[in-house]
Symmetry: C2
Subunit: 301 residues, 2 copies
Amino acid sequence: MPVLVVGSVAFDTVKTPLGEANEILGGAATYFAVAASYFVPVSVVAVVGEDFGAEQFKVFEGRTIDTTGIERAGGRTFRWSGEYSGDMNEARTLDTQLNVFESFAPKLPPEYLESDFVFLANIHPALQLQVRQQLPGAKLVGLDTMNYWIQRTPDDLRRVLSEVDLLIINDKEAGMLANTGNLRRAASEIRKLGPHSLVVKRGEYGASLFHYDSIFFVPGYPLEEVYDPTGAGDTFAGGFMGYLAGEGKVNDASLRRALVYGSVMASFAVEKFGLERLLELSWDEIQARVNEFKNMTHFNV
Amino acid sequence: MPVLVVGSVAFDTVKTPLGEANEILGGAATYFAVAASYFVPVSVVAVVGEDFGAEQFKVFEGRTIDTTGIERAGGRTFRWSGEYSGDMNEARTLDTQLNVFESFAPKLPPEYLESDFVFLANIHPALQLQVRQQLPGAKLVGLDTMNYWIQRTPDDLRRVLSEVDLLIINDKEAGMLANTGNLRRAASEIRKLGPHSLVVKRGEYGASLFHYDSIFFVPGYPLEEVYDPTGAGDTFAGGFMGYLAGEGKVNDASLRRALVYGSVMASFAVEKFGLERLLELSWDEIQARVNEFKNMTHFNV
């Protein structure tokens, strides 16, 4: 089954200890879509500016990514600039120019309204809610958010949380949302807000899934070098949702596998700058890394 | 096969956000011995003072722990006092009184010289080396150390590292010893110093094992409350070494299982103050938690 993502498309300028890149294609919906496209067709709802041209669209068009829902508005595309240092777990934002993204009002093409698997990437929770309410028949709606919305628009966030199935956030956001640094208690509090499933991304420490009575952990893939963490979280979400949509069934076993595939895709994303590594992946490489994850975590008793 | 541990026995005074305890039995060798005694007989080489009486010895004597090697010296037993706050991953030491431990010179009773499984808990690396050299026929010698020795006695530490099979340290110590924050590179550097196997303890994030070409991760057990982290690392080592000695074979499969049993024992240790929870464990509880770890980490692809 295809997956629908609503979120940002951007130009990123990134500096890390291992290099830098200037105005490369980025944004949550972009990373998500490229990752998910390894598993299923993807539909993207986003907005870009007049400076977004054929060169950028080519990245989507070379894959099973439908861009009907990418609106072209007058003005410039969203731009973000950031720098990573030290443990690379968090970027220092140097500059944000929202541009056309500032007045983004997601418009769903009619053919997207039947989507079964939907991901609402990190945008204003009131916009996430608008989209969610247009898709009452969706089988699984996933959501991302960030500290900004947790602190500034808690009521809007709670409203949309009460109507989604899955929340994918990082450990700091989970702690802030639940007001506790304890992972298990945070998961319990957050699942009371609505989502039956919670994925907590823990950077280099991997990810964990809380789903009914089940807790499942995947470690971070132990890379010798991280070139660029930009988009790793969105790539994770794309791998997770894409895998799940491909399987089509949502249960404990498929959610576990989705967590592994999300981790695998994210581990590739950070191996080069921007989308570079993600665009050149082979299915054999993905499967080989899934097997590595199995080998890194399984034991016989 | 029995396991031999050389290390500290102490009285601990501990304060955590959930309570406090005054002059309770502690020390690395104590936690190690109690944990390991669930799997195999344990021999302890340590020193205590005149204030260490029948009440304390009773803890060992109620289990398969041989105390022939615990020397009683004139003076007071080693005392440590510390406080945990915030994320509870690290104690703030309030007071250390080495007392009889200051001139500790480990003496091995003759019957210990045939030990196959040996753990050199955190003491001066020159003393660790002395012990190690008295046990040339040991099948597996494990070692712990800390930032103090890594910084103050690097040459002594390298000397003993070149003669042991296994190092069990935490992630900060691994980073300091290898001079890199990257786990995989640290593991590679450290294994060049001697030990064929490295276990890195990562606090609430679990533990990882590096062994020849194999990497294995176990998550931290997700507790809702941590009452007292004191001794968790030594308990982990005791569970690890005890399990391994019980199995008797050292290979990839047994080392993985040992990492799980170490994690299980450590997860129990922090559920109450001091040794309390460790002393009341049943074999069924241990097995049930091993199964929980399996359920938290396994997936089918």
